[in-house]
Symmetry: C2
Subunit: 290 residues, 2 copies
Amino acid sequence: MTARKIDGKAIAASIHEEVRLGAARLREERGIVPGLATVLVGDDPASHSYVKVKRRACEEDGIRSFHHPLPEDTSRETLLRLIRDLGENPEVHGILVQLPLPSHLSEAEVIEAIPPRKDVDGFHPANLGRLGLKGGEALFAPCTPAGVLELLGRIGVGIAGSRAVVLGRSKIVGLPAALLLLRNDATVTLCHSRTKDLPAVTREADILVAAIGRPGAVTADMVKPGAVVIDVGVNRVPDSSRKRGYRLVGDCDFEGVSSVAGALTPVPGGVGPMTIAMLMKNTLAAASRG
Amino acid sequence: MTARKIDGKAIAASIHEEVRLGAARLREERGIVPGLATVLVGDDPASHSYVKVKRRACEEDGIRSFHHPLPEDTSRETLLRLIRDLGENPEVHGILVQLPLPSHLSEAEVIEAIPPRKDVDGFHPANLGRLGLKGGEALFAPCTPAGVLELLGRIGVGIAGSRAVVLGRSKIVGLPAALLLLRNDATVTLCHSRTKDLPAVTREADILVAAIGRPGAVTADMVKPGAVVIDVGVNRVPDSSRKRGYRLVGDCDFEGVSSVAGALTPVPGGVGPMTIAMLMKNTLAAASRG
């Protein structure tokens, strides 16, 4: 078997187009321009480049972007005051604080200062808690796992009644992915570094979500024939043939897993583009609710 | 094999004793008397009897109880105002709103009005969300699943690295039990009504938590030999030999499961007594933090 390659880039492009149309309609019908505030503390080059990509997506999708770059030594009080102001600003529908924060600031405290209705990253504990509650209103799901579910839905994978295994339990990907799969009636198993006989567990999966952050962690023998494998890992491996000296790979041994799985996301071009698409979708949803 | 019977009553009694001593120490050393407010709307006899049992436990454990019985037709505004007042009352460290509420009131709205630091039932979404976050501060875990974990810990079951299967995904038991097991490094699978081939899934479990609410739902063929089975179900079955006309049974076929499991909680006398013990423990913790 050779796995079908899931084109996350094309699906993400379609979501951006939907957001663009939705934002235009919102402006025409209700005079609302969706707004996203980005807060960036310090000079981490990777964080700067992530925020830049997000702001460019805003521009392309018809979302107003409010950028707040702050110096590395910003005090807790200054940052919390800014977040309070953004929380009260009616033109700002979504607030994104780029992580990681400098170590003198508490990420938990800062995230919890964002009003849950503007928490378009879906990291506020109240939003995470609501994810698990069938029937409860989940305001926002974190963008990467929301992107995983969106991918599964758009390629027509039946989630209800399936066995889903999530590798990795981070609050940003693994845990919310498990809660979202559960919400969609999968029988969900969460694995992590302490799991014993991992291949036996992962081979039970009709849907396998890998979010470990280790290249080659998922090999062909860990995959049930025909399973849908979503590779959330983004890892740099040295590659002297590339100008920048590295290339990006996922958590899966792509060739090996391709020979067993029914469908597989590539890295790059799989889940990656979905994350920003879902951030735009969440921001539009926040503006529409407002 | 005949399963060891786990005596939840004895373990709960020991926790009550620990709370009693802790409350006495708190009073002596810091002049704080732990206080629990119970809010009961309407005339449901079962709810009245639950609240009565909780208030009696308060009295025995040295916790001051503030009881607020309200009529069935209490307005949303009145109830929210009461909760706000209790939230601001420094003598009240824990607030318990007995569920279910009459249908004209939104349970979600009422629960979310409780300050998370006084949410000793652990039902606030922010507390539930924090449960899943390793390293994040979980203020309170819901009492029944917290009781399940406390039982496992006190009888020396190794959770880390084990495979745990939770049957049922309610926000009060199944879901938080899964999050707590995950927090303790189990590989956790959550099953529910949409799970296919349930016996195959449950037979993987070293620790099986049954929280479905259907007598006889868990049979011997669903249990791995030697597994620890925690039966959270409390079901009434007709029994003409009893004065009250029924008896209480759990979700397990007790005889059958006993012949396969390594250890099993009885119903009654297993998880049941732990729930109120954990409520007292949570209230003491709230007062100690305060």
